[in-house]
């Protein structure tokens, strides 16, 4: 009956419903979370026997002293700073424009969103080809403006930029959709009220649209930052299984992958995972703190 309280019997019943999900999440989510924190503290570990014979913070000390890891953190941060603000601003602008478009707006929406559904690996192949220094489309277009061919994928100065350009292209659609939803959710009454109060189009935009979109803008930014922290597939595919020329595109997750998969240094890889976790935690905490204070819901 509806007003029954939780009892042993009802808990047993709920447990049956939760069981399949619990078995999987405990094995492949909860336990691994604990495990990777533990593993980051292993100093002597034998994978084959799963035996641990030493504990400590050596792995973190290793990361602290590893120039590769410094480079990975630096590249990741540059990547985040390069991708997120431009993506947010561009997708906001496009969403605002699309919101004005009546004629075949569905078609435009489909087109802008297309990159989201495509395989990162497959489309990165295409970008790899477009970034080709001799026959690539990008250099061809740039030549119209008198720009000399750039070695996008082989010159360490440009390799990260190439990654950033492709990532912006790929993530625009998702954010545009979110902004469009946000724009749709703005109550028309606000605009009518403002119009009666004598606000012109520009004033209405700055005083209604922008503030009302602030929660979505914030959300899109945070999502973007967290997603960008984890960039991997794009690099692997764009640079054909390397972290770019001169490790120019070595990011934290790529570093983790290398330590883990090619060097078999599991504890160090786990430690880099823990660092990633704390970076993301930091962003999340800033998000919580900021949204409590500033975002007007």
């Amino acid at each position: 009956m509806l007003n029954e309280k939780a009892s042993f019997k009802s808990t047993a019943k709920a447990a049956l419903y939760l069981l399949p999900m619990l078995v999987i999440t405990i094995t492949f989510n909860i336990w691994p979370i604990i495990n990777s924190f533990l593993m980051s503290l292993y100093t002597k570990y034998d994978f084959y026997t799963d035996k641990v014979s030493g504990w400590g913070f050596d792995n973190f000390v290793y990361l602290w002293n590893d120039p590769d890891f410094h480079l990975a953190v630096r590249n990741t941060l540059v990547f985040v700073v390069g991708v997120v603000p431009i993506t947010v601003i561009l997708s906001l602008i496009i969403a605002l424009l699309l919101n004005q478009v009546k004629f075949i707006s569905g078609f435009f929406r489909t087109v802008y969103f297309l990159p989201f559904v495509t395989s990162t690996v497959a489309i990165a192949m295409v970008w790899n080809w477009m970034f080709h220094s001799n026959y690539g489309l990008v250099n061809y277009f740039l030549s119209w403006f008198g720009v000399h061919p750039i070695n996008w994928l082989t010159d360490p100065h440009y390799a990260l930029l190439a990654l950033i350009i492709m990532s912006i292209w790929k993530s625009l659609g998702f954010n545009i959709i979110l902004f469009l939803v946000g724009l749709n959710n703005i109550d028309h009454g606000y605009y009518e009220a403002a119009e009666i109060d004598g606000a012109n189009a520009r004033q209405r935009f700055w005083n209604i649209t922008i503030p009302m979109l602030s929660p979505i803008t914030f959300l899109v930014s945070v999502n973007g930052i967290i997603g960008s922290f984890k960039v991997f597939d794009e690099i692997f595919a764009l640079f054909q299984g390397t972290p770019g020329p001169g490790k120019a595109d070595l990011t934290i997750v790529y570093y983790l992958y290398q330590k883990f998969y090619t060097e078999y240094k599991y504890p160090i890889a786990a430690a880099s995972g823990v660092v990633l976790f704390f970076l993301i935690l930091l962003v999340t905490l800033v998000q919580l703190w900021y949204s409590r204070k500033h975002v007007h819901y």
Partner: protein
């Protein structure tokens, strides 16, 4: 099926009692309305009968069987909800047949039964539509058919008409009455609309503040309200209530002195104030002034000032204007005296003799 409540108490939060020590018996085959203001415990009572809620204390019997611990499924009740609660993804036919499907009745059999019921409630031409394509009245008919599908021991209706417009409401309440008569199923009907309750029910249970104010036939409810609350709640226009003191002089010698002394409030139905001496039925002659009269449709009302109190009469058509000061008569029926606690101490048939 006869339904009996024995000392049923219901509390949602463990602190305040939504229902307190409810005792009643609903006879088999009747249509009973639970009437009262919102928050009075009507829906809670209905849900206790349905088995959706379990009482905090007390027992609930169906016939002579104790059903207190049994859930909705075991009680075999049919229920119609205020917002119809049809399954939006199922056709009308499948909606009606759903309880039979749950009872593992074969497809052919349940479809045949569902079609019969659809005929009973007059939706046989809508069988393939989804509920969303039906009007409110049609949806309600489907909901009734669904509730009847498993041949329920009881048919429970929770404010079934309140989402319908006025005209449809009248049509549907007649329908419910007809269907109840045709099937003979014991029916319990929750409403906050007295008009609805008065028209449809064999008996009305007035619930307020978690207890039964009165449980009787509609006529008795009107003619002999148990207390001031019922008197005020039932009847349109609302009964005139004035301090008994104002009538003391005119009633001296007519109403026994000890009763008059206890009386706190007098209740006078608007039709109990008449402009002529009706003889036998008249209780007292009063003197007052008509301050305003109006007429709309077949209704005429007059506002009377009497001893500084305002009274409303619906029987003064034609006496207005020309003679603002007048004598008028108070009839025996429709006049009540209530004591300090609100209990009836004079009036109603038993006292009026």
């Amino acid at each position: 099926m006869k339904v009996t409540f024995k000392d049923v108490t219901m509390s949602y939060d463990g602190k305040t009692d939504t229902l307190k020590d409810l005792n009643f018996t609903i006879p088999d085959g009747t249509l009973v309305s639970l009437l009262g203001p919102s928050g009075g415990g009507k829906t809670t009572t209905l849900n206790l009968i349905s088995g959706l809620l379990a009482p905090t204390a007390g027992q609930i019997f169906f016939g002579d069987t104790d059903m207190t611990k049994k859930d909705a499924l075991a009680r075999k009740v049919g229920m119609v909800f205020q917002n119809y609660s049809l399954y939006p993804h199922l056709s009308v036919l499948d909606n009606i047949a759903f309880p039979l499907k749950m009872a593992k009745v074969s497809k052919a059999e349940r479809h045949a039964k569902a079609k019969d019921l659809a005929k009973l409630v007059h939706v046989e031409d809508q069988l393939d539509k989804k509920p969303g394509a039906l009007s409110g009245g049609q949806q309600q008919r489907v909901a009734i058919a669904r509730a009847l599908a498993k041949s329920p021991s009881l048919l429970l209706l929770d404010e079934p008409l309140s989402n319908l417009d006025a005209r449809l409401r009248i049509e549907m309440r007649e329908e419910i009455r007809r269907i109840q008569r045709e099937t003979g199923v014991t029916t319990i009907f929750v409403t906050h609309d007295q008009d609805e309750a008065l028209h449809i029910s064999d008996n009305i249970m007035v619930l307020a503040n978690g207890s039964i104010q009165q449980f009787s036939s509609p006529q008795t409810l009107y003619d002999q309200p148990n207390n001031l609350f019922v008197a005020k709640f039932i009847g349109e226009p609302v009964i005139n209530t004035i301090p008994a003191q104002a009538l003391a002089a005119d009633l001296a010698g007519i109403v026994p002195e000890d009763i008059l002394k206890q009386a706190e409030t007098a209740g006078i139905r608007s039709e109990a104030l008449i402009p002529y001496d009706a003889g036998e039925n008249v209780l007292a002659k009063l003197h007052g002034k008509i301050t305003q009269s109006s007429k709309y449709g077949r209704e005429a009302t007059a506002n009377i000032t009497y001893n500084g109190e305002h009274l409303l009469s619906t029987e003064m058509a034609g006496v207005s204007g020309s003679q603002p000061e007048l004598d008028f008569y108070l009839t025996k029926s429709g006049f009540f005296l209530f004591d300090q606690s609100g209990a009836l101490i004079f009036g109603g048939e038993s006292h009026a003799e």
